[in-house]
Symmetry: C2
Subunit: 389 residues, 2 copies
């Protein structure tokens, strides 16, 4: 029909499966295996249905003030939205409105090119360090056996080279840790990119940053890898985070961005031109409640990091290779390079992991870190699948 | 700074005030004065905090299936979003991507030109019937006194002329009833526009349609003014509604669109290119719960319509004039044409109504219909303000 000439036709992003019902182990969309803080439960129980008849505060001040207390930034430097996906989409629309292509890594969150298409933003993918560019094994790892060698081989694979981001561009977006690789870049690399690009807004997508510690001990000691401390120094920096992973609130859809007042104002103007009230009363209240429980948050994060480190050792022992993950998932390649087959066999057994069929990721599975019990179940099944192969 | 060359700078829509705390009467954002259905409270009480760790169903099937049962349309003809504002914004982006200007009335929801600017959609405002084009008084109303005459004078004012929408366009959007006028157009007018524009998507924004009955009796008898029955007949028709008004759930942000499968698919593709999970688990569950209570819904709507009709009589008696409202607000002009002054004086007394300063609306106040008690309080204060003037 001819009215279709006025219609925007687009190929959307495909989210991971959300299987309904049944006994399954869900390690496919990087959710937290632990429930949200008991404070969230309390807030949910005390939320008054009557209050829902009224629009929410369009500023979501209660949530921003709680974020302000948690992150030590004024509310004027904070933006909130319906998951970091909405925050990032609005940021693409706001900050990537120039004519030069924006830059992002060639393996990264697969929503970036989709947003670029949606908003008509030209883009260029910058290659990460390729596996084949990395020495097969280091002298050190030669001594520790084949399994460990495979992993060490990956220490440099999938890394970002800051020097590659010195070309003309209309903006830059980098996830840190990167997805689906799980690789964390040090702040030095980010700062080098920020310094080289004063004419571009640089977005650091920190969906997984709360898991960036190397060990539970580091979480306990408050070691932080976030680019948040750079905000005061770089007015072109926007840092995006989410409640969906470390705060176990994917179901409530809460994301946030931090930046200097000017960037936040531009982003807010676009948001208010799109939807005055993006955050429901429930999201505002429950999000704020989650932030009021830093101890629970640290404990959950510690458990997760411990299970991740334990899972790495187990995968190594089974001959899998993977870049060192500092997220709540492991991007891992089975020794027989039969990722797709394993993906399907696990699914048939009720265990969901994520498989990306693009050539550069097709040998890998992205495995969300669950509870110790869920991971044991996964490994048991992986062993059975291997034995039956 | 030079990075600003890549930034989209835009003047956003200004939502009505959401005053915090204190004893106020809030008649400024067309919220429902009654709480949501007790079924919503039940659903809220039984929502499990633990479930929030998981992403919601990206299809929001539970909500769509409940809508399907309520409206008698298959789920494939239903789209849901974060309030009708998000639904409309995504519909602008999806369906108004052509080069010809889209058309909407010159007095209408003031978000339309904002979305058009945001998505770079050219637009043209089509004048409504002007007050001065309407005879001062009809023979009939001459006999019933000045107050009633003033109202009758408005019977034709602010109406849409279907013939005006026969010019080349890239799409059409009409609110019915219109906002902020409250004027309802009969389906004949809409159908005339649909027939004349097979090459355009026509969006009917029915945020207030549930109040379109002339009397509580009509609500009881199930008289419907919605364009929903036309969906089967016109594949270029999209009907948009919301839970924010008649379902008393503005605070949860739930809106929906109905249309033939093809339109819904295009709209969904854009939605999935923007944010996979727009609806939180809470919104999906509570929205579905609301739909499971048609009796409460009808009762609330009846009370509202009764209070609106009573309020019209009272305003007439006080010498105010207004187009006949079929919404949950009255767009009314004080006899002394001092709308702005009254707006401010009411606000000082803790009563919030809405004032739009554009020339064509500057003599009017948009007064949300509250409870009988709230309206009595309003009228008492209006009388006091008049006496003190």
């Amino acid at each position: 029909m001819s009215y279709e000439k006025n219609i925007r036709s687009i190929t959307p992003y495909t989210p991971g499966e959300q299987p309904k019902g049944g006994h399954i182990i869900k390690l496919n969309t990087n959710e937290c295996p632990y429930p949200p803080s008991p404070k969230v439960e309390e807030a949910l129980r005390s939320l008054e249905a009557d209050s829902l008849r009224l629009y929410p505060d369009p500023e979501a001040s209660e949530l921003k003030e709680a974020l302000s207390r948690t992150y030590g930034l004024p509310a004027s430097r904070i933006f909130v939205g319906v998951g970091s996906d909405e925050v990032l989409a609005l940021a693409f629309q706001t900050f990537f409105a120039g004519k030069d292509p924006i830059l992002f890594p060639d393996i990264t969150y697969s929503f970036y090119p989709v947003w670029a298409e949606l908003y008509g933003v030209p883009y260029r993918r910058i290659p990460l360090v390729k596996e084949k560019e990395v020495p097969r094994a280091t002298a050190d790892s030669e001594q520790t056996g084949a399994a460990l060698r495979d992993t060490d081989r990956h220490t440099e694979a999938f890394r970002i080279k800051a020097g590659d981001y010195r070309i003309p561009n209309g903006g830059i977006i980098l996830p840190n840790p990167n997805a689906p690789t799980g690789v964390l870049e040090p702040l030095d690399t980010l700062e080098e990119i920020l310094k080289a690009n004063p004419e571009s807004v640089v977005i650091i997508d920190e969906a997984y940053i709360d898991f960036a510690a190397e060990s539970a001990e580091e979480v306990k000691n408050g070691v932080r890898a976030s680019a948040l401390p750079l905000i005061g120094k770089y007015e072109n920096l926007l840092v995006v985070q989410t409640f969906s992973k470390s705060r176990a609130m994917a179901g409530m859809r809460i994301g946030m961005a931090f930046g200097q007042e000017k960037l936040i104002r531009y982003l807010s103007d676009v948001k208010y031109s799109f939807n005055s009230y993006t955050m429901s009363r429930a999201a505002i209240r429950l999000g704020a409640a989650s932030l009021s429980d830093p101890v629970y948050f640290a404990e959950t994060t510690m458990k997760l990091v411990e299970t991740r480190e334990r899972s790495k050792k187990r995968l190594q022992a089974m001959g899998w290779s993977f870049p060192d993950s500092r997220a709540n998932f492991i991007f891992a390649k089975p020794p027989k390079k039969n990722a797709k087959e394993i993906f399907e066999k696990l699914k048939a057994r009720g265990i969901y992991v994520r498989y990306f069929s693009a050539p550069e990721t097709a040998e890998y599975l992205r495995i969300t870190v669950g509870t110790d019990r869920e991971m044991d179940e996964l490994f048991k099944n992986l062993e059975e699948i291997e034995q039956n192969a």
